[in-house]
Symmetry: C2
Subunit: 407 residues, 2 copies
C-alpha cells in the first residue's frame, strides 16, 4: 500500500513535458507559455491622461472651484493616438482624450466633467475653457513606467494563459507565442458488457460512460482527448487499441477497467507484452487500484472502472499530471476550507467524498451527496466538490472544518 502523495510523485517524475509550437494570440487562450515574456518597453510608455478632459499646468488651476473658476486659453487638441508638438505655456490648456500623451509642460488633467465644456460631444474646440476643480499635480496622469519597466519579466515560462495574459501580450505587440503543445491523451475503456449510447440495450449490458467523463476532464486540464472507443475482453482487441494510441500520436494512454484481478481483464497482459506495468495499491478510496507503466515507450495509466473511482483517480492523479505534461511550472490545486455538516466515517484511507456546497455569507457548508458507492455516477453529478479525508482519520464530527476541492 503506498500513499497518495507517493503515487503522485512517482507518476509526475515519470511523465514527459510536451514540446513547444508557435500559435497566434487568437489560438493561445488556455495554452502554456514555453518561454518567458519580458517587457519590451515601459508601461505606460509615456505619461498619459486617465480621463477625457483638459491638460493643464497645476499651478494655473490651484484652488479652482465652481464658485471661483479659472479661465484658460485652449491652445490645442490631443485626440487619443496623437501627441502635441508644442509645450503647454502658462495660462493655456490643451483638450486631451483618455490615453493620449500629456503635452510637455502639463502636469495634471482636469476631467471634462469639471469644466464648462462638459456635455459637448463632438463639439468644435472652444477658444476658452472654465476650470471648476483641480486635483493637484499628477492628478489623472498615468506616469510612464508606473505598471512595469522595460526588461521586467512579466510572464514566466510555464504560465497557463488566461484572457488577461493574452491581452497583455497584445499590449506588448506580441502577435505569436511559443507555447507547449497540448498533451494528447488516448482514452479507451474495455469490457464486453459496455455498449455505446444509442445502441439498443441488451440483457446484462450497460452503456459505457467513463470515456465521456475522462475525455471531458482531459480537456478541462488543458489536454487533447483522443477517444479510441471500447475494447472487447480479448488480448488481441486490447492490443489493437494500444497500437491505435501509438498511431494517433498520443503522449499518454488512459484506460479504464480491465485492470482488476478479474479473469476477463486482458489490459495488463496486453501492456506487458510490449512494455511494463505496475499495479499500485494506493491508500485511498475510491480509486485504490491504479496502474502505471508504458507500452512501447508510451506512458500508460489505468484507472478503475467504477465511475466514481475513475473520476477521483483523474482528479487526484491525472489532473496534476496533465498540467505537468503541458508545461505548467508549479500547478497548484485550489483548495477551499469548508465546514462539513454531516458526521463522516472513514476507514483510515485517504478518502474523497462527493459533497454539495451550501454557500453561507461567512462560510461554505458541505453535505454528503448520499451513498458514496464507487459505482454511483449520479452522486458525481450532484457533487459540487470533493471532500478530502486525510489518511489515518476514521471520523470527522459534524461542523468540523475540512478541505474541499471545488468541481
Amino acid at each position: 500500500m503506498i500513499s497518495v502523495q507517493e503515487a503522485l510523485d512517482t507518476l509526475l517524475a515519470s511523465l514527459p513535458v510536451t514540446p513547444s509550437e508557435e500559435v497566434t494570440l487568437a489560438e493561445a487562450n488556455g495554452r502554456v507559455l514555453a518561454e518567458p515574456i519580458l517587457a519590451p518597453f515601459d508601461s505606460p510608455r509615456f505619461d498619459n491622461s486617465s480621463m477625457d478632459g483638459f491638460a493643464v499646468r497645476s499651478d494655473d488651476v490651484h484652488g479652482a472651484s465652481r464658485q471661483k473658476s479659472k479661465s484658460l486659453l485652449v491652445a490645442g487638441d490631443i485626440p487619443a493616438g496623437k501627441s502635441a508638438s508644442t509645450t503647454l505655456q502658462p495660462g493655456h490648456t490643451m483638450r486631451i482624450m483618455t490615453g493620449a500623451a500629456m503635452p510637455a509642460g502639463a502636469d495634471t488633467v482636469v476631467p471634462v466633467e469639471d469644466t464648462d465644456a462638459h456635455g459637448q460631444t463632438g463639439a468644435a474646440l472652444p477658444a476658452v475653457v472654465q476650470i471648476f476643480a483641480s486635483g493637484g499635480a499628477g492628478a489623472y496622469v498615468r506616469p510612464a513606467g508606473q505598471d512595469f519597466k522595460a526588461g521586467e519579466p512579466l510572464l514566466a515560462a510555464g504560465t497557463r494563459l488566461r484572457p488577461q495574459e493574452i491581452a497583455l501580450c497584445a499590449m506588448l505587440g506580441v502577435a505569436e507565442l511559443n507555447v507547449h503543445r497540448k498533451p494528447r491523451v488516448a482514452v479507451f475503456s474495455s469490457g464486453d458488457e459496455l455498449l455505446p449510447p444509442g445502441e439498443k440495450l441488451q440483457p446484462g449490458k450497460i452503456y459505457e460512460t467513463n470515456s465521456f467523463t475522462l475525455c471531458g476532464l482531459v480537456e478541462s486540464a488543458g489536454g487533447e482527448a483522443i477517444l479510441l472507443g471500447t475494447a472487447k475482453d480479448t488480448l488481441a482487441d486490447v492490443k489493437a487499441y494500444l497500437e491505435g494510441a501509438l498511431q494517433a500520436g498520443a503522449d499518454l494512454i488512459l484506460s479504464t477497467a480491465g485492470v482488476s484481478v478479474g479473469s476477463y481483464d486482458f489490459v495488463r497482459e496486453a501492456v506487458e507484452s510490449e512494455g511494463r506495468i505496475d499495479g499500485w495499491q494506493v491508500n485511498m478510496r475510491p480509486g485504490r487500484p491504479f496502474t502505471f507503466g508504458e507500452y512501447r515507450g508510451l506512458p500508460f495509466v489505468g484507472l478503475p472502472g467504477n465511475p466514481a473511482s475513475a473520476f477521483v483517480g483523474f482528479e487526484v492523479f491525472l489532473r496534476p499530471a496533465l498540467h505537468k505534461m503541458g508545461g505548467v511550472g508549479a500547478w497548484q490545486r485550489r483548495v477551499v476550507r469548508a465546514r462539513v455538516m454531516d458526521t463522516v466515517e472513514s476507514d483510515g484511507r485517504e478518502s474523497y467524498l462527493r459533497v454539495l456546497i451550501n454557500s453561507h455569507p461567512r462560510e461554505w457548508q458541505v453535505y454528503l451527496t448520499g451513498h458514496q458507492g464507487s459505482g454511483n455516477l449520479y452522486s458525481l453529478v450532484q457533487a459540487q466538490a470533493l471532500l478530502q479525508v486525510p489518511a489515518g482519520v476514521k471520523k470527522i464530527r459534524a461542523k468540523s472544518w475540512v478541505n474541499v476541492w471545488p468541481l
Copy 2:
C-alpha cells in the same frame, strides 16, 4: 448613480434566452440543457456485484475465515455483460465479475481476494472454491434502484453539463441532447489610437487589448465570441461594425471604449441612430460608466475602455448575463471567504480590487497586486481573485475577512 445589483437586475431582465438545438454527447460538454432528463429505469437496473469474486448464499459462508474456510461447488461463471439462467442452489457458488447481474438465490459476493482463486487471471473455472471471509448478506452487492429510480428527475433544464453529466446521459442511453444554442457575442473596440498586435507601432498609438480579453471571457462563460475588430472614431465606421454584428447573427453586441463623454466617441450616436442607449453611472469602481441599450432590436452593452474596467465590468455584469442568455436556470458565482492582509482604503463605491491568493492550510490570505489604476492591465495578469469591497465601506483593516471571486 445606481447600485451594482440594480444595474445587474435591469440587465438580466432585458436579455433573451437563446433557442435550443440538438447535439450529440461528444459535442455537449459545457452546454446547457433545454429540457430535463428523467431516469428511464432504476439504477442499478439489476442487483449486481461491486467486485470480481464469487456470488454466494450468505448462509453458506457465515463465519468463514482463513483458518476455517468454507468449500463451495462452482456452478457457473457470470462474466460482465452476462446473466445466469439458473438459480444458485445451497452449497454452490458462481464466479462473478464486477457489474455482472447477481444470480437468483445469491445475496452476497465474496471478493476473489478472499478465496483460493486469487491470482488466477484468465484461468479456467475451478470446480471447487475455498471461501476465506464473509461480509454477510448484501455485502458487495449493489441493489437495483440504489442510486435512483425510474421516473426520477436527474438533471433539470438549465443545467450546464460537465463531463460527469454527459457520462450520466451516456449511462441512460441518451445519445443526443436538446441544449441551448451558445449565446453569440459580437465584440468590437473603437478608437483611432488602437493598433492590432503585429503592426508596427506608431507614436501616440497603443495596441488593442480589450477584444482579446473579452473574447476569451465570453467563451469562459459559455458564449461564442465573434471578433469584429476595431472601429475608427467616425460615425460611419462605428455603424458599419454595428451592422456587422447583425449580419453575423449575434445575440448581443459588446463594445469597449467609445462610450465616455469624449469628443471622439461616436458609439452612443451610432447606436442611438437606430436604437436607444442608457448610460448608467453605476456605484462601482472600476467600471463606473456602463451603457446598455439596443441597436435595431439587438441588445448592446458598452464597457469602459480601460483594461481593468472592461474586465471587472465583464465579471460583474456580462458573466451572469451570458449564463442567463445561455439558459442557465440560477447561476451562482463561487465566492470564497479570505483574509485580506493589507489595509484597504475605498471611496464608498462597491469596489473590485485585484488580489493575489496565498493559500494557507487553514485559510486563504489575499494581498493587493499593487496599484489598482483601471489602466493597469499587468495587475489583472497578476490577480488570482477579485476582492469585493461593499458599497459604503471606506476602510477595511488588515486581517479582516472579505469575500473574493477566484479568477
